[in-house]
């Protein structure tokens, strides 16, 4: 049983690497899109196996209750995005925005990114996790700049500089955590292993841990896109290929937040250390309020949804900062729903921008008339993301606000204000985009709608009925997060 678990965990890492190699070599573009889908599908299937069998923690890899949820979510969205990417890329090739050589590069980088994210989630070693996050940053930088327009280069450069500085701060924090652990655990790999850190954290030097956490929160927080460290995020989302926007918003932000959560668990296990909650609550709240107001002034459709991602990562960080079983439970649910919904929105936005030939919202009108399936898909996505009932996001936001209200009414009011302001902005823009007289190109879209509607259906279904097994699973993880 155990060796099967180890095989599965390795498969999750090895399949993307092999796929990346194959995709870099094969020139045929029809074929490579299918290999890409096949690679992500196999990775997803291997990851679902981890629900049933899991390996013993080794010094480098670990599968526990906390990360298995993240792994399955990442591989699932990775798979559906690769399906979307197939039809998106075919259109880009037809219109000459990407050449076959760049396409090979794109597919290889897509698989490398999947590998890096899976490694960051599976890593039992804080150093290894850092390397994985760095690798994920580098691959996404390259993909954001792939169109080589001035705007894309600027976005990639900004992302590269801010991302690297964030990563550098996180490494300093990681070194400090090792120092704190070394005097208790002793030198060597054990002082960097998650399972050891969490169980022995009570004896660590609190002052060192405090300083380490500040660096880690700012470092990985830059990658989560928390205000005021978010400056790279809207540019990177707007200028790169849309499948990458979907993966960035849906997955990479989660991976960075996962790193923060792991360190938060270490902090919570130490009675003398600073409580990490208030720091996370304030960063989260600032992000929600800032992004909510910024939503009103957006002219670019992908940029607008990027700001919406800042808002939602703020909500999730807020929830985890509040802590306690209920808020953590709601935070986990919200993160899952946001990944699914936001990637679905980017799937529809990607096709919309392709048929309209622009990302400027002023030039996109009346989508439900000109492109009913795409238009209504977008309407459904936006209704879900703003948290109208009965979708899953309504449920998770409701839980976050009510659980906060019981403890800190003022904070709950501020959060609710942010949510309502964001709701107003998104519905206002949606009205212009989806309804009224059609404007601009009415070219048919050869889109694959299955990934988009699959995600939205999942979130809608989860809002109405969440299987008890899943609820108890999430509750269990929420307790572990402390």
């Amino acid at each position: 049983m155990n060796s099967l678990g180890l095989t599965l965990a390795r498969a999750i890492l090895v399949i993307p690497v092999i796929s990346a190699g194959l995709l870099a070599l094969f020139p045929d573009d029809r074929f490579t899109a299918r290999v890409n889908v096949l690679g992500t599908l196999l990775t997803f299937l291997a990851s679902t196996g981890l629900f049933f069998v899991r390996p013993e923690p080794s010094p480098f890899l670990i599968v526990d209750d906390v990360n298995v949820v993240f792994i399955v979510l990442t591989t699932f969205v990775g798979f559906t995005t690769s399906v979307f990417s197939g039809s998106y890329i075919a259109h880009e090739l037809e219109h000459g925005r990407l050449t076959p050589v760049y396409l090979r590069f794109y597919h290889a980088m897509y698989q490398t990114l999947m590998f890096a994210m899976n490694l960051a989630l599976l890593a039992n070693n804080v150093g290894l996790m850092w390397v994985a996050v760095e690798l994920a940053t580098l691959t996404t930088v390259l993909m954001v700049g792939i169109y080589r327009t001035p705007a894309a280069l600027e976005a990639a450069w900004k992302y590269f500089i801010l991302g690297s500085v964030g990563i550098a701060l996180a490494l300093f924090g990681t070194i400090l955590v090792y120092l704190a652990a070394r005097s208790v655990v002793g030198e060597g790999l054990d002082a960097m292993a998650w399972n050891v850190l969490v169980t022995r954290a009570a004896a660590f030097d609190p002052a060192l841990l405090n300083l380490a956490f500040v660096f880690l929160l700012l470092g990985y927080g830059t990658k989560v896109g928390l205000a005021p460290l978010h400056a790279w995020l809207p540019d990177a989302h707007a200028e790169g290929p849309t499948p990458i926007s979907a993966v960035l918003s849906g997955l990479l932000l989660n991976v960075a937040l996962f790193a923060v959560l792991r360190f938060k668990m270490v902090m919570s296990a130490n009675p003398g250390a600073l409580a990490p909650g208030p720091l996370m609550v304030s960063l989260g709240l600032v992000s929600v309020l800032f992004a909510a107001f910024m939503l009103y002034r957006r002219h670019d459709i992908k940029r607008m949804f990027a700001y919406s991602s800042i808002e939602h990562m703020g909500i999730v960080t807020f929830a985890f900062g509040m802590g306690g079983p209920l808020a953590n439970f709601a935070g986990l649910l919200h993160m899952t729903y946001h990944s699914l919904t936001k990637s679905a929105i980017f799937f529809s936005v990607g096709h919309i921008a392709q048929v309209k030939g622009t990302q400027a919202m002023a030039d996109i009108r009346g989508l439900t008339v000109s492109h009913p399936v795409l238009g209504w898909g977008l309407v459904l996505g936006v209704i879900t993301i703003v948290g109208l009932p009965p979708t899953g996001i309504f449920m998770s936001e409701f839980l976050i606000i009510t659980s906060t209200f019981a403890r800190q009414p003022a904070l709950a009011l501020a959060l609710a204000l942010g949510l309502l302001v964001a709701l107003g902005a998104l519905l206002l823009r949606l009205n212009g985009l989806a309804f009224g007289n059609p404007y601009g190109s009415e070219a048919r879209s050869k889109a694959s709608f299955a990934p988009m509607f699959a995600h939205l259906a999942l979130v809608l279904a989860a809002g109405i009925y969440l299987p008890p097994a899943l609820v108890s699973w999430f509750q269990h993880v929420a307790k572990l997060l402390g």
Binding site: N125, L142, F160
Partner: protein, 220 residues
Amino acid sequence: MDRFVLDVAHLFAGGLVLVSFLLLYQDRMFGLLNTFALHALVVSLSVAWQAYIQAAPHLYITAAIALIVKAIIIPVALHRIIVHLGIHRTIETVGGIGQTMLAGIALVALSILVMLPITAEAGTLAREDLAFSLSVILLGLLMMISRRNAVSQVIGFMSIENGLILAATAAKGMPLVVEISVAFSILVALIVIGIFLFRIRERFDTVDVHALERFRGERA
């Protein structure tokens, strides 16, 4: 521990902070490159000394990588790029040199005040090296925000990496994974940077970050 051993370790770490200050006031491209090569040389000496006193031979690899890649290959490559692009003019700074230096001194004081009290248990060696390395990191950040030019930002970033290597080697017994990964990631990062510099050249004939900002999507 032998007094002399400690003194030499502090000499190198303190020297690194000093070279970070030198980086701050370079206003010529080639001067900046040469100073960065010196920065990398000092960090590689410091790592080699740590390898010797900790009897940790794997650290010599890190020292060698720092010496070969960062003190030789990268400065030479950047030198060629600068000549190729014809951008060896004065570097534009944000704010005056004097203010930047004062801010730098404040940052060093800050990092000493922060690090020394809390690392009391970590041993003398690690303690002071960590304070120095935090200074180098903060000075690198200061350099990145006070320069408009893409090449100087890259050099600022690499000086931050040098500070991190200093910290990682001062933390005695830190597993090899990290040192190699740091060196490796720098290599990868540089490949990326190289690609970027050439792409930037193709599109706008300048590597001044200020020129990039015109293309920001929201300011049409």
